[in-house]
């Protein structure tokens, strides 16, 4: 079934504004960005391959440091008048020699990648507003986005390293609920 048969597009494809790019709504209204792959058709067998999750972040310096500590690195940075985009990928999956490429070459190379990236969107100035805060999707009455996920060999060591950075953890009550489901 073609996506167009059951999806309302927020921004339809083939507009003059953005060619090779469209935004669809999923059944819950989450935005799904559809981007033209940068390699020949058939190189990657799936018509769709999961490519990115975008998070709006208040202070991108803090966020980049956090995700770098989780083994990611910035593979592409795009700066616009009032916002910037930072694409991060797990270092172990990044076998591209991106450091020698210009931005257009990086975009071409990343557009051929199968593995996903984390896209951090920084709207300039939010980092200086003490009252500014993004909804994380898990607050009472504002539930939506859930979480990202990372695989590690040793969860305890990984948690210790995150704790040392000063960041907290969710209470374990959810684990009991998950355990009940598995019995």
């Amino acid at each position: 079934m073609h996506l167009r048969h059951f999806t309302i597009f927020l921004l339809p494809p083939k507009t003059d504004r953005m060619k090779g790019l469209a935004f669809a709504y999923d059944p819950d209204g989450y935005w799904v960005e559809i981007v033209k792959r940068r390699c020949d058709a058939g190189t990657i067998p799936n018509y769709f391959n999961f490519s990115q999750t975008m998070l709006r972040v208040k202070d991108v310096t803090k966020s980049i440091s956090f995700y770098e500590a989780l083994g990611m690195e910035v593979v592409l940075e795009r700066n616009f008048d009032d916002f910037s985009l930072y694409f991060m990928a797990s270092s172990a999956n990044n076998n591209l020699n991106l450091s020698s490429m210009n931005d257009n070459e990086k975009m071409e190379a990343l557009g051929r990648q199968f593995g996903p990236v984390l896209e951090l969107t920084h709207n300039h100035g939010t980092e200086n507003d003490d009252d500014f805060k993004y909804y994380n999707g898990n607050e009472e009455d504002r539930q939506g986005f859930g979480h990202t996920g990372f695989l590690v060999d040793d969860v305890y060591a990984a948690c210790d390293s995150i704790r040392e950075m000063g960041y907290g953890f969710k209470k374990v009550r959810v684990y009991k609920a998950a355990a009940v489901l598995l019995l």
Partner: protein, 31 residues
Amino acid sequence: MKGLAFAYDPDGYAVEIIKRGGIEFGDKKIL
């Protein structure tokens, strides 16, 4: 339960940390 935790990133987004190779619930291992 071993092999799963949820951290918060700087904006409060939940980050799930999962043991590579599976999660253990008592003597049950979920791959």
